[in-house]
Amino acid sequence: MFSRHGPLQAMRCAFPIRSRVMPLVRLVLLVLCCHAAIVSAVGVGETPPHFGLLDGKGDLVSLEHLRGRVVYVDFWASWCGPCRRSFPWMNELQRRYGERGLTIIGVNVDKRRPDADRFLSQVPADFTIVFDAAGVTPSAWGVAGMPSSYLVDAQGKVAAVETGFADERKSAMEARIQKLLDAR
């Protein structure tokens, strides 16, 4: 049915080399799988990756310097609706627990700084705001959604991770913060 150099012949021709190609294919597949696994999220009990970002005045804010305090790290963006709703609550938390040792850091991930500034003029933040336009930190921390919050205890370990912002979870988070502040 097929001629000597027909498609069947070509396939048969290719068949013996499968043993040499397959390891290469497996390698490429492995690399692709690793590519997806590189962005591993920070989990509870872990020490988060290095965190050092500049605030609006150009001062460095780093988690290492805040050891001994309970830190609430919140990744936000101007285009994120729930973030807008979370700001008044975080202002309230900072006001209520700041003196007892709570530091709230809002990490802005906007690509354009004016977007963040416009947001902040509408929704003022009474806590530390740092800027990461390149997205290095959310990438390293494996942020899964916007907003994402990480509660870091006085020893520098992650105590809680929250994705999104929901009113019904506010009291549970506040209770966690109080517990960490008491244990400090």
């Binding site: 048969r12 290719a14 080399i17 290469l24 942020v143 994705t163």
Partner: protein
């Protein structure tokens, strides 16, 4: 049969590796990179209320819900 094996092997290997590398190039935007996607101009519908009503009617006529995208602005938060 022998003559063509090397050429075909090379061509196949290049094709497979090349196409697989192509897959790696199109990573979906990460959650913090969706600023442009969240813009009103990027929405399929211009009027949110109209879209909601239309979806409601469609859902009731169809007898099934879901499959019309993700909740919220695509930030992965709802």
């Amino acid at each position: 049969m022998r003559a063509c094996s090397r050429a075909v092997a090379l061509a196949l290997a290049t094709l497979v590796v090349g196409s697989l590398c192509g897959c790696a190039g199109y990573a979906s935007p990460r959650p913090w990179e969706k600023g442009d996607l969240a813009k009103p101009a990027m929405q399929f519908d211009t009027d949110a209320l109209d879209a909601k009503l239309e979806q409601h009617i469609y859902t009731s006529k169809e007898g099934a819900a879901g499959g019309s995208g993700v909740g919220g602005g695509g930030c992965g938060c709802n």
